[in-house]
């Protein structure tokens, strides 16, 4: 039986892990390879490097990081952040990375995903969707330009049609509350787009994405749990795997994302980095609750 995946995520800046594994005897806590090995030994199912390097000139450093990691760690490796061209993808794959995750570039040019999937195969093209509940306060959001593109018209939100939804605990085991809508954001959450996140996920699948990495911008960093309704809405809308992300603070949250949210994989950062739990503990907990995991 296919196991649900547990995926630690490491933020990498200028080739160094920031907010990496803490309180562990790593020889060098900022070394991506050391961090990757640590999770490899714990039985992580995959690893994601999120490249948050700001300067364009230093972008190439991530290639070196991937190469070094691939020398020692033999599990699937995904790199996200700053991917702008097919050459960027080629360089990463060649260095030993298995999948790339694309967000902003897909929003700027959705057909970039088709070209990438055609050239490298859908299996290595992950679309990262940063979704935020539409609260009515989207005055600074952009997206109107999409209305001119017939093939994308159906993914656009028209705000007046959606009454504001008050932010509330994202917990809804039974289903998804009516009228709930998520818009997508780009540039690491700094910009909003008037695009319906669920429809966008479906569009990305149609254009060739092999997986969706779904982050709730409302829950990210809160440690209050994933946005279950968002996760469920997207998981049910697409037939490609969905990785739940944003908000995991306890092992129960991982369970909720995988079972109630129907995600195929759960991504977490802080609960593993700060050694609140090991990946193995997380999996033991999930197995005891009847979730198929690899131990």
């Amino acid at each position: 039986m296919l196991a649900k995946r547990i995926i630690p995520c490491l933020d990498v800046k200028d080739g160094r892990v920031v907010k990496g594994v803490s309180f562990v005897n790593l020889r060098d806590a900022g070394d991506p390879v050391e961090n990757a090995k640590f999770y490899d030994e714990q039985g992580a199912d995959e690893l994601i490097f999120l490249d948050i390097t700001a300067s364009h000139e230093k972008r190439k450093i991530i290639i070196d990081v991937v190469e070094k990691t691939a020398n020692d760690v033999f599990m699937p490796l995904t790199v996200g952040g700053g991917i702008k061209s097919l050459d960027d993808i080629r360089d990463l794959l060649r260095a030993g990375c298995d999948k790339v995750s694309v967000n902003t570039t897909a929003v700027k040019d959705p057909f970039f995903i088709s070209r990438a999937a055609e050239r490298f195969g859908s299996q290595c093209i992950v679309v990262a969707i940063d979704a935020k509940r539409v609260s009515g306060n989207m005055s600074d959001a952009t997206g109107e330009e999409w209305f001119g593109n017939p093939s994308l018209k159906d993914v656009c939100l028209k705000l007046p049609q959606h009454p504001p939804i008050p932010p509330s605990p994202p917990f809804a085991k039974g289903g998804i509350r009516g009228g709930l809508v998520w818009a997508i954001s780009t540039h690491g959450g700094r910009r909003m787009k008037l695009i319906d996140a669920v429809k966008w996920a479906r569009k990305m699948e149609e254009l060739g994405a092999g997986e969706i990495m779904l982050t709730s911008m409302d829950m990210d960093g809160t440690k209050d749990g994933y946005d279950i309704e968002l996760t469920k809405a997207v998981s049910e809308a697409v037939s490609i795997p969905v990785i739940a992300s944003g908000g995991a603070g306890t092992l129960e949250h991982l369970y909720e994302g995988l079972v109630y949210g129907k995600a195929d994989a759960a991504l977490a950062a802080s609960i593993f980095h700060f050694r609140e739990y090991t990946v193995r503990e997380a999996k033991e907990y999930l197995r005891a609750k009847g979730v198929a995991v690899r131990l």
Partner: protein, 204 residues
Amino acid sequence: MIAIVDYGMGNLRSVEKGFLKVGVDARVVSDRISIEDARGVVLPGVGAFRDCIRNLTDADLTDAIIKSIREGKPFLGICLGLQVLFSESEEFGVCRGLDVFRGRVVRFPESGLKVPHMGWNTVKIGRRPPAFNGIPDQSYFYFVHSFYVAPEDMDIVAGTTEYGSEFTSMVWKDNVLATQFHPEKSQELGLKILKGFGEFVKKA
């Protein structure tokens, strides 16, 4: 030396590094002479069936691969490297394969299954290939694929995996071993298979 065939598709570096890690001499090659000279051949690959066949043909490598298989040289196919051994694929219309084994490559049915089949799944070992010494039955390996092989001759099936229904995840006949999963991405147990293949090559 083991030749890892490079035909412009997939993550070959991991395969090479995997062999290196377990002390097996394997190198990425992209010409027919190196394949002919090698003591064992590895055909990795992810992506589309048609592109794979086209790239192999364009690089003039198909004959060398088939010849080395026919000569009894140890062969390891990984993922797409398993699929192209079969007669034909239904991916993007019908496309002819290398026809080493009779059978078709078919897509997972659209019945609520997530496709690609991506992640860690167990392999039920029916017959144990030489490279599988020390691999427990029902071990987890890493998969990522949307198509699977349906052999005509079920005697070549060495392992199966459950996803919706049971599909062939490993074939083995004489000198040819091929897996749908990725040993080079399957941590310790995967590396054990690469090591096992290296030993098999040494003995051949």
